[in-house]
Symmetry: C2
């Protein structure tokens, strides 16, 4: 039993819960023999979903919880008051050490608050950033921070840069990942007070490969592997991906339907276009980790389907194998000793 | 003579200067009889370009200037030290009242510094925002501020909202334009200190149609006509348009070249796709005004071609006809009396 990676899944979180969540969990179990899954939520509903599949029952456990935290609820209040919610039940397992990782497609705010509260920050970590992978022309990059804790300090951004580097190197296999600071110009003297103060600190960091400032236009082009910014800016970047992408796709579709000639063309390019657009879908990577915590916390997209949930769960195995929390802990303590 | 709109053009600013600048000026002159253009820059070079066209010579005047401010130069130093530059020469005409408007495709930083220094801010205006039009699924929206003055205060954002409303109503003909504040969630209590303080101020504004917070993903969808944010965030939004757009187009082109079938399809949809992508090109609108100044200052895209320069110049006539500076002045003084 000790070699199993134990993932506590919030079975009620997300637009397609519990169907997509249970299906994703079953798919993950079928792919890996070293996986154990807790499904937290309404027992009846979960049983009904599970009954649809053949699965290794000895590696699944339902954790009954009657309440559900909704997306619109104020996070802190929701986490504190809904003690019998699927999210709090799953997070409880993480806190008690009965689970190694926690996955939820529920309220981002609640995952951020709950993750920090239940898993606890690693020694030396000032703030836990939410760090999704974003698509670029060259593959992908880690955007750190996209969380809910805005008004960051320079020391936070430096920690984001170091945690992001460890992630890209350990999990994504990028050697000496290029770290860049989001700014409104490439020159060192540009920017607001936060980035001006952060720049020299990053430059002085010996354990990261800092390549300087990056303008937002160069992020999708893939000019950095770790894109460092405070959460407000990170949120804008992430949502502009989605917004510009969707608006362009809509326009392209309208354009393709504008004449018979273009309609025929549209039919012919459809398969190629579909593959392309999938490449640029921010949600393709499954979950975004909340880094710097003692336990593994992964936030999956609210609209996650079974495939995304499966990927988020499988990601946890990799996190555990790579000992990502341990690596961050070591690095953060090195920093303190400098 | 008094009815002519007099535009001082920096003939040496931009990637395609002086060719594209002079050509755009000539095109504008041929479209409007009520236009007079000063072309500031190297006399020989401008004469050589002018010689290529037939144009109303009585409505053009060359203003000799030997220096050019380059994009990389620190703006304040450049404006102060290059007294004989095309930009300073053109701005000088605006200050002396010999020109009604100033257009440049040169260094954004230098235009912002020079514009404020030479044209001067209107009474009551705390900060002059750079406000480009951005494409949306429903047409376009004004993104205010995208300038170089970061770390804004709530009172600045309120002024941006009011100036932006006047612009969209007077110049773009949008009745009661919807004003929204860029935030990381739609709820009032979300965001950083700046937007939390700004929200109630905008809500209390009687002369604008405030519709609340807007998430970045809803900007390209066209959910607001005036998108209010501080300059750092505005810059990120503007450049994400460009970055995501370019990366997607590149991917789509690669996708279309991936098979014979898709290559044939690509040929068929090419005209329709081209029209679509033009719709989503941020640079299509010509220039972005620097609002809140006594004179009209328009920053044209650095890569402007003749068509964009022509549009930027023609825009000045509309600004002058609509008395945009006068309207902003009136509103800002109303605010002070409240």
């Amino acid at each position: 039993m000790s070699k199993l990676v134990r993932v506590a899944v919030d079975a009620m979180g997300g637009d397609h819960a519990p169907q997509a969540i249970v299906q994703g969990a079953v798919d993950a179990l079928q792919m890996r023999n070293d996986l154990f899954i807790f499904l937290a939520g309404r027992e009846e509903a979960i049983r009904t979903e599970l009954a649809k599949y053949t699965y290794p029952a000895e590696r699944v456990q339902i954790v009954p919880a009657t309440e559900v935290i909704e997306t619109g609820e104020p996070p802190v209040h929701a986490i504190r008051s809904k003690k019998d919610s699927s999210m709090v039940a799953a997070l409880g397992l993480l806190r008690k050490g009965e689970a190694d990782a926690f996955v939820s497609a529920g309220s981002t705010g609640a995952v951020l608050v709950g993750g920090q509260l239940f898993a606890g920050k690693l020694k030396g970590v000032e703030r836990a950033p939410l760090a999704p992978l974003i698509p670029t022309a060259k593959g992908n990059a880690l955007l750190i921070d996209c969380g809910a804790n805005v008004d960051a300090r320079p020391s936070h951004l430096v920690q984001f840069a170091r945690m992001g580097s460890i992630y890209m190197e350990s999990i994504m296999g990028v050697k000496s990942p290029r770290v860049a600071l989001v700014n409104i110009g490439a020159e060192e003297e540009k920017g607001n007070a936060l980035v001006k103060e952060t720049y020299p600190l990053l430059k002085a960091c010996k354990d990261i490969h800092f390549v300087g400032n990056i303008e937002a236009r160069d992020i999708p082009a893939g000019q950095a592997d770790v894109v460092v910014c405070e959460a407000f800016v990170g949120n804008v970047i992430l949502k502009m991906y989605e917004g510009v992408g969707n608006a362009m796709i809509k326009k392209i579709k309208e354009g393709m339907m504008s004449s018979l000639r273009s309609k025929v063309g549209a039919l012919l390019i459809k398969p190629a276009l579909k593959a392309t657009l999938k490449d640029f879908d921010v949600s393709q990577y499954g979950g975004a980790p909340l880094l710097g915590l003692k336990g593994l916390v992964v936030k999956s997209h609210g609209s996650s389907d079974a495939n995304e949930i499966k990927n988020s769960i499988l990601q946890c195995i990799q996190f555990k194998e790579q000992n990502i929390s341990e690596k961050i802990k070591e690095h953060m303590n090195t920093e303190e000793e400098r």
